[in-house]
């Protein structure tokens, strides 16, 4: 009687197949540019040939003047003109898709992860067969591989494909493109990718390399400033002397979160403070378990850095509104706004501003930059008629938009209108694929959890 099938081997084979499938699909994802290229070239060829055909049809119509064919040739010219218009429309659409489509520099990252997992699968299989490990230990190793690393990989894989599809088809409302431009302004080569909400996405986003997840449902202009946090993590990961100094200054247990908050606030001003505190931070309640850094601590650092950037005028007014809103919400939940380690946080925030001021590639978004980059947008958004001048920077646009929103925060129709109008003021610069537009040495991907995962899930 043959021995029963070895279930562990069946599972290992299945897992191997899954991983190989991921590799294939990721490789195929990159071929979408090739397919698009075929389409683009066919469209260009058709347009060129059509031009010749129209010229010939026109000549023939002239030659046929006064003959019975003249009317038929004129009708042919008209039909060719309509076809040319359709071809032009097709080519424009292909060009739009091409612009929205990013090159997947992360294919290599994911392939490497797949390769490592495949090596581990083969290793377990051969060691079981060779009797080097017991079945019990092999099952434990399999479980570890399946439940953690593979699960994370599959999660990222789904996010990646879904996100790419959303970007490619423009269903993300081009918010990813705006986020890309913001990240570019901040001097990073990171790109935004629409992804599942935080509750469902427990994977380590670092595995997506230079892609940062843009959580659903925050595919709106309001969530875009949150990418400043990821840019901060990326900056720290470069291991520059200034970045190291700032990490050293961070209170113990903060894991780079406070550095990223300080960086994002410094670089984006009130827009980051508004998005982070008003949209994402969980208001501390009485008796919340102690975590480090606490939400109160993070809010404290963000608000202190913001105050250091300016307290007067509408810039200070916006910061003040965010602060009041946060304090009131914390009070309503019975929590305390004053973090236990306030002095340490104050020292850190002050030091962060000093250090970030020395980063030559980074400009503080202070009240002066607010005046030059955001104020005009704010005034444009206050007007009811659509349109207006395109802002010089995404950060200026985001700040102007948040300021306009907080002028009537309770009016949903107004907030929606502001969001739509602000988004329409911006034309993404992402021509020909981000990877092509911004070549150069890739910075290391964020080593810390990216923005979303560092916050407690809602609910």
């Amino acid at each position: 009687m043959p021995p029963p099938p070895d279930l562990l081997v069946i599972r290992l084979d299945e897992l191997q197949e899954d991983i190989e499938e991921v590799q294939q699909v990721v490789a195929k994802a990159e071929t979408r540019h090739e397919r698009l290229k075929v389409l683009r070239e066919a469209g260009e060829y058709a347009a060129e040939r059509l031009k010749t055909a129209r010229r010939q049809a026109n000549d023939a119509a002239l030659d046929a003047e006064g003959t019975p064919f003249h009317h038929a040739m004129e009708a042919l010219s008209g039909t060719l003109r309509e076809v040319a218009a359709k071809i032009r429309h097709i080519n424009d659409t292909v060009a739009d898709i091409d612009r929205a489509m990013i090159h997947l520099r992360e294919a290599e990252d994911i392939n490497n992860r797949c390769g490592q997992i495949l090596d581990d699968i083969r290793d377990i299989r051969s060691r079981v067969r060779g009797g080097e490990v017991s079945y019990a230990d092999a099952w434990a190793a399999f479980d570890e591989l399946s439940d953690t690393r593979c699960r994370m990989l599959f999660s990222d894989y789904v996010d990646l494909l879904g996100g790419l599809t959303l970007r490619d088809t423009g269903l993300d409302d081009q918010i990813s493109g705006m986020a890309d431009d913001l990240l570019h302004e901040l001097g990073t080569e990171l790109l935004a990718l629409p992804a599942r909400p935080a509750e469902a996405s427990a994977a380590d986003p670092a595995s997506l390399g230079s892609l940062i997840k843009l959580w659903f449902p925050e595919w709106t202009i309001w969530g875009v400033p949150l990418f400043g946090y990821d840019a901060g993590l990326a900056w720290v990961s470069r291991r520059s002397p200034l970045g190291a100094q700032l990490l050293d200054a961070e209170p113990a247990g903060s894991r780079g979160c406070l550095v990223a908050d300080a960086y994002a606030t410094f670089a984006l001003g009130p827009a980051y403070a508004s998005a982070a505190i008003l949209l994402r931070m969980r208001t501390p309640a009485a008796g919340d378990p102690a975590v480090s850094p606490s939400e109160a601590g993070r809010a404290h650092v963000i608000l202190r850095v913001l105050r250091a950037l300016g307290q007067s005028g509408t810039f200070g007014g916006l910061g003040g509104l965010v602060e009041e809103c946060w304090q009131e919400a914390v009070r309503q939940r019975g929590g305390v706004t004053e973090p236990a380690n306030r002095d340490a946080l104050d020292r850190f925030a002050d030091r962060a501003v000093d250090i970030l001021d020395k980063v030559t590639t980074l400009r503080r978004f202070d009240s002066q930059l607010w005046e030059s980059e955001a104020l005009e947008t704010l005034n444009t958004l206050r007007l009811t008629e659509p349109g207006g001048p395109q802002p010089a920077t995404v950060r200026g646009l985001l700040n102007g938009a948040w300021a306009a929103r907080l002028e009537k925060p309770d009016n949903r129709a107004y907030v929606n209108r502001i969001g739509i109008k602000a988004k329409n003021l911006w034309t993404p610069h992402n021509g020909g694929g981000a990877g092509e537009k911004w070549p150069g040495g890739s910075i290391q991907s964020p080593r810390k959890p990216s923005y979303g995962t560092t916050f407690l899930a809602r609910g």
Binding site: Q311, S312, G313, F315, G316, G317, G320, D366, S367, E371
Partner: protein, 381 residues
């Protein structure tokens, strides 16, 4: 005709002096931006005094008592005013004071223009800031040549505004005076205060609120830092309310300006000016001093009423614009660059910078002040 030659000589001497003052003022081209209206008022005043002296001569008897009365009550004030004007003119020509005098004139011209009163003021110096009603002279403090004391001139101008600001469409109405009188009567009736003293104190409060309304936090910051007396926080004088009452009235005035603001952002900016800038500075410098509940309510009510008076009767541009980025302007001034900005913006930039940099050494403060004064001097009001 008077037969006493001594009396006649002295009266004629007084008349000659009045004529001399008139001639001096008309000859003097250094009256700066002073309008012909002020010169004319001065001329009318001098001629009125001359007429009064001439009446003494015409009376026939040597009325020494009346002459003494005229000298003390009528002539001395005019002479002092004339002397003040001439001092101011001389000072304006002095290299050390030329800049700050020109800057002060810009500040006052800007305020007069924004207040919408058809009356300029004369500027001179004294040992302390004050307003002299005779011909409308504002004295700035000698020998201060820095930007720091300039906001206090707005308080002195406020005394003039109280007596000249009309109501819309009623050029002869004086709503501030009416309010002060009514409120002083009520205060006297309810607290037992002397009505005249109550009236004087309310005038001071109006001048404080006017300066705060027109210059924003720059005024309370300047006055609490440079003039408030730690040993007299809670003591009112016959003419002035206690510093604690004055400061709380100013804080409440800024809060009230926030309530009037159309945009929540600007409203928040005013609130921050009151709660995060002025109040902590006041507490830091002089300790946490509060009024009792009743006095606090009174301060709030009076600040609200005084701000409403200005809101109703003065052009909207008189109100300090809370949207101004004074911090950014302060940074640029600190970097040494002259700025073309409104006088109220420069004064706020200066005081915000000084408040944020309490440890700045005297040389840094002097350099900052120099740039600010130069910016004020060159800016078109």
């Amino acid at each position: 005709m008077i037969t006493n030659p001594g009396f006649l000589t002295q009266v004629r001497q007084e008349i000659a002096e009045m004529e001399q003052i008139e001639a001096a003022l008309h000859r003097e081209h250094g009256l700066g931006t002073t309008s012909s209206q002020v010169r004319d008022e001065f001329t009318v005043l001098l001629r009125e005094r001359t007429r009064e002296l001439a009446e003494l001569v015409d009376a026939g008897a040597a009325d020494w008592a009346r002459l003494d009365q005229l000298r003390a009550g009528r002539l001395a004030a005019v002479k002092a005013a004339a002397l003040g004007v001439l001092e101011g003119i001389l000072l304006r020509a002095h290299p050390l004071y030329a800049d700050v005098t020109a800057a002060a004139e810009r500040v006052l011209d800007d305020l007069v223009d924004r207040t919408g009163v058809r009356r300029d003021v004369l500027l001179s110096v004294a040992s302390g800031e004050r307003f002299e009603r005779t011909v409308g002279i504002i004295r700035m403090r000698f020998p201060d040549v820095t930007v720091w004391g300039l906001p206090i001139l707005a308080h002195e101008l406020g005394h003039m505004v109280a007596g000249t600001l009309p109501a819309p469409g009623q050029s002869s109405a004086r709503p501030v005076e009416e309010y002060v009188s009514t409120e002083a009567e009520m205060e006297a009736a309810t607290t037992g205060a002397d009505p005249t003293q109550a009236r004087h104190r309310l005038h001071e409060l109006f001048a404080d609120v006017y300066a705060t309304y027109a210059l924003g936090p720059a005024y309370p910051l300047a006055v609490l830092t440079l003039r408030a007396r730690p040993d007299r926080f809670d003591d009112a004088t016959p003419t002035h309310p206690s510093w604690t009452r004055r400061m709380w009235t100013m804080v409440e005035a800024i809060r009230e300006m926030g309530i009037l603001a159309a945009s929540p952002l600007v409203a928040q900016a005013y609130r921050r000016d009151a709660n995060v800038l002025v109040l902590p500075r006041w507490f830091a410098v002089h300790g946490e001093r509060h009024l009792d509940e009743r006095a606090q309510r009174t301060a709030r009510r009076q600040a609200k009423a005084l701000v409403a008076l200005l809101d109703r009767n003065a052009p909207p541009r008189l109100r300090y614009d809370g949207a101004i980025d004074a911090d950014g302007l302060g940074q640029r001034l600190a970097a040494g660059g002259e700025e073309k900005a409104a006088p109220s913006a420069v004064l706020n930039a200066a005081w915000r910078w000084r408040t944020a940099n309490p440890e700045a050494d005297p040389e840094t403060m002097r350099l900052f002040s120099e740039v600010a004064v130069t910016s004020l001097r060159t800016v078109t009001a």
